[in-house]
Amino acid sequence: MKALIIEKNSMNILLERFLEEYRVFGPTKPGSDSTFDEIKSIEQLHLDYISTVLPPKKFFLPPNETLFSFNIKNGKFTTKEIRPDEKILILGIHPCDVHALLKLDKFFSGDFNDLYYQNRRKNSAIIALNCVEPSEHSFCRSLGTGPFLNEGYDILLTDVGTNYLIEIGTSTGKRLVKGLNLTNASEEDFHEKERRLKLMEKKFKKSMNISWLPKIARENLDHDIWFDLGERGGVAGSFPCLSCGSCTFVCPTCYCYEVYDAVDLSLKSGTRNRELDSCQLLEYAEVALGGNFRRDRKDRIHHWMLCKFGAAAGGKNSSCVGCGRCIRVCPSKIDITEVAKALRRG
Amino acid sequence: MEEITIDVNYLARVEGRGALNISISKDGKVEDLQFRIYEPPRFFESFLIGRKYDEVMELTSRICGICPVAHQITAIRAIENALGIEPSQQTRDLRKLMAISAHIQSNVFSMYFLSLPDLMGYESIITMTKDNLDIVKRGLKLKKLGNDITDLIGGRAVHPVTAVVGGFTVIPSRNKMKAIRKRLVEAKQDAYDTVDLFSEVEIPDFERKCEHIAISDPKEYSINHGRFRSTEGLDIDEMEYRDYIREEQVPYSTALHSHVKNRSSFMVGPLPRVNINFDQLSSDAKDAARRSGVKFPNFNPFVSHLARAVELVHDIDESIEIIDRVPLKEERRNFICKAGFGAAITEAPRGSLYHSYEIDNNGIVKKADLVPPTAHNANNIEKDLQEFVLTLLDLSMDEITLKCEMLIRAYDPCISCSTH
C-alpha cells in the first residue's frame, strides 16, 4: 500500500478527519507520566510522550465496567445486557502497547468470547506511532514488540523529522486518509525511517533474554529469589515487594478481574460489574472459610513474574511486551529484567 | 413552690456528650447549675508537641467532624503567621469559599436537624419527615450544597485534604465551579425560605445582655481573619488574644471556661457575628434580616437561629462573588521553615476559634494552644441558664427541661471541640 507524509504541524488535518467518525483518545502530556485522555483539539495532543501511566488497555478492559443489569420481580429475575458500542480511536499508541492488545485479543477470544472486550476492539481504530525515544525502563526490543511496529495498526505514524510518515495497515486506515490532501512518501522518507530505527535500537538501557524465559518459568518455582523479593532484602538493589499491585494495573497485558454485584436501595435491582484485580493482592486467591491459595507475598510476586515470563495464560510466549511500566511504577524499585537475570544466574 | 431538680444525663441533638444538672430551692433560688461536659478529652495540645508544622492542619482537623474546615484554616493561618507567609489573594478567596461552605453545612445542620424539631414540636428530624417532608428536603438540599462545595475545593467534606500551608495542593476546575455557582443561585430561594421559617417559629422571649465577641473587618463579613472585637469595646489583634482572654478549669467539666480578663463570660457565634458585623452582610442578607422583623443587635440567644438563616443568605451571595472573581490559576507554594510563634482567630460556624503554635527551626511544634468556640461559650451558657430557668418556674418539669435544652441547642455547642 502506498505511504504518505504529513507535516507535523499539520496534524490537525488528520485529527479533524478522525473526529468526524470517532471519539479520539491520545497522550495528553509529554514525558513518562503521560495519560491517554480524550482529544478534542490538536493542542491537547502530545505525540512526543515517552510512556503513559495506564496503557491503552483501559479503553478495552476498563478498570471498572458494568456487564449487565438485573431486576427481580415476583421472585423471577431478568437481565439486561449492556453492550459498549462507542466508536473510539486511539491516536499515538506505541508498538509495545499494540502488541499487548494483540495478546489480549487472543486471550479474550477462544472457546468463550468476551463480548465486552471484543465489541470495544471492533469499534476502535488504532493509529500507532513508532517509538523514536525509548523510556529508560523499556526493553521491547528484546521481546520483538518494538520499537517499530509491523502489525496490528490501521495507520502507523513514524517521526521522520519535520514530517510523520503515514503507513496504512487496513482498509479502515485507508478510508481514514482518503481524500485528504497529503503528499506521497518518497524513498528518502523510508530511508529516514530505517535510519531512525537503527539509532533507536542503540538507545535501550534494559534488556531481557527471552530464550531463557520458558526455562525460568519451569525451573524456578522454589528459588530463593522469591523469598528475597517477598520478605527479605529484594533483588539487585530493590526493596522487598509491597504487594501494592501497581505493577499489574499498569501492565498492558494483565487482565485479571473481579466480578461483583451492586444492588440499589430497592434491593430489587442492580448491576453485575467487573473491576480489574491483581494477583499481588492478598484477597485475590482467597476462598470461603478463610482459605487462601497464595497467602504469602513471595508466592504472589512469584506468580506474577512467572505469568509475565509466560508460565500462565500467555502460553508459550512471554506475556510481557517490555513496555517498562512496571519498573517505573514500582516504589520498591523491583525490576523484572533484573529478576530474570538473577534467576538465570543463580 | 416545690424544689426542682433537673438531670439531663445526656444532651440530645448536640454534637458530643454533655449533661445538664439544675437544682432550684423552694424559695426559687438556683442552688446549683452545671452544664457538665463529660466528653473525654483527647489532649490535642499535648500530642501536637513534637509533630511537624505541615501536619498540624491535618491533625487538628480531627478535633471536629462538623467543623474540620475551621480548624484546618485556623491552624494553617497560625502556622503561616509563625513562618511569616502571606498567602495569595486567590488562596484567601478559596479559603474563604471553603470556610463559607462549611458554615452553610454546619448552620443548616444546626437549624434543621438539631433545633427545628424543638421549635416545631418533634422529637427529631426523622419524625418530622412525616408531616413536613418539604422542609426536611430543603434542609437536606442546602446541607448537601455546603458539603459539595467543601468537597470540590477540599477534596472531601469531612476532613478535607487540599488546604495546606501556603495554599492548596490543587485548584478546582472552572467547569465544576460553574456548576456549583448555578446551584448556589438556585439555593437563594431556599435560603430566604429558611429566614422566613425561623422568623415564624416561636422562640422564648428571653434577653440577657452580655459581651458578644466576633472577628471583624470593615471590608468584608469576616470569617477567616479580622480583629477580635466585642460589643463592650474589646478590639485586639489575634496575636494579642492571650493578653485578654483567660481560661479556667471547673471541676465538673472537661471543657475549660473562658472569660475576658477582668470581666465576665462572653458569647461567640452567629448572633454576635451578625450583631457586630451587620453592616458587612450582603444587601440581600440585610434585607432579609430587616424583613424578618427582628432587630439587630439582639441579645436573645434564641435569635441565633435566625442569625444563622441570615448568614445563609449572605453566605450564598458571597460564595457567588468569590466564584466570579477567583482566577483559578495554578500557583507555586514556596517558603522556608523557621522558628516562630503564630496565632490566628477565625469564625468557625459556632463562633470564634483560636489556635496558636510555637515552632522551632526544624518546623517542629513546641507549644500549642487551642480554644474552640464551645470552650468560649460554655461559661456563658451557664450564665444564660441561670437567668433563663427562673423565667420558667411555672411550667411543668418536662417543659422546663426541654426549654433549658433548647437554650443550649441555640448555642449549638460542639462538645468534642470544646474538649479537644
Binding site: C256, Y257, D277, C279, A288, C307 | -
Partner: protein
Amino acid sequence: MINAYLPNLAIIKKIIRETHNTNTYMLEFFDKQLQTSFSCTPGQFMMYSVFGAGESAISLSDINNNDITATIRNVGSVTNTILNMKEGDSIGIRGPYGTGWPLDKAKGKNVLIIAGGMGIAPLRGAITHIKNQRNNFGHLEIIYGARTPGDMIFKYEFEKWRQIKNSRLDLTADTIPANTPFECKAGLVTSCFPSMKTQHKNAIVLLCGPEIMMRYAAKCLETIGFKDDQIYLSLERRMKCGIGKCGHCQIGLKYVCKDGPVFNYTDIKPFIHPL
C-alpha cells in the same frame, strides 16, 4: 454471538436436606429449549448467580436425569442465600464448564474413588455413570470420608452404591460422637488404604476433597505403587468467571475452570504446595 457472562433463569424443582448446612437442589432451566439441549459430563461445574450476592462455582452433583443437580454447602454470601431458598424459587445459572472426569480413559480399568467431605459431590456423577455402564469398567471402590458422620452427604445413596456389582464402599469419619447410629470407621480416609482392594495395576484413581487431604492421599497412594499419572483430582480455586478470563483460578500454567477442574496429578503437582 452469545454473551457468556449472562446467567439463565432456572427454577428450583426440589430440595433435599443433606446436613445442617448442605442441601441438594434439582434445577431446571426456565427456557425449555435450553433444558432439552443441556448435556454435561460428571465432574463439570456450573456458575450459580444470586443477584445481589454474586456468583459461585458449584459442581454438578449427579447426571441421572433431566435435572441439573447441585449440592451446596453454606459457607458465605452466595451459598447462604441459596440455602434460604425454597422450591419454586428462581436462580441464575450458566454452564456447564470445565473438563469432567476422564471416564473414557477409565474404560476397562479398575476405578478407585476417594472423596473427602464435599468432594463426593462432583464424584457422584462418575459413580452413576459407572453404575449405568457397569460392563465397561473393572472393579469399583469408593472410599468416602467426612469430619463426622453427620457431615456425610448422599447417605441415601450408600445402600444403592453397595449394591453395584463388583464394588466396595468404605466409609470413615475423623471423629465419631458417642451414640451415633451410623456405621462407619473412625479415622482419616487414608486409614482405609490398608483394607483397600484396588491395586495400582490397571487402575485409575479419581480424587476429590480438601487440597490437603488430596495431597496426603496422593502421597500414600504413591507408597503403594500408584503412579502420579494414574491419579486424577478435581481442584478448587477462587473463580469469578468460570470461562478462563478472570485469572483467579490460575494454577501454574493452567486454568482450573478451563483446563480443569479435573487434572492429571502430574500436570499440577509442582504447583500444589508440598506437604
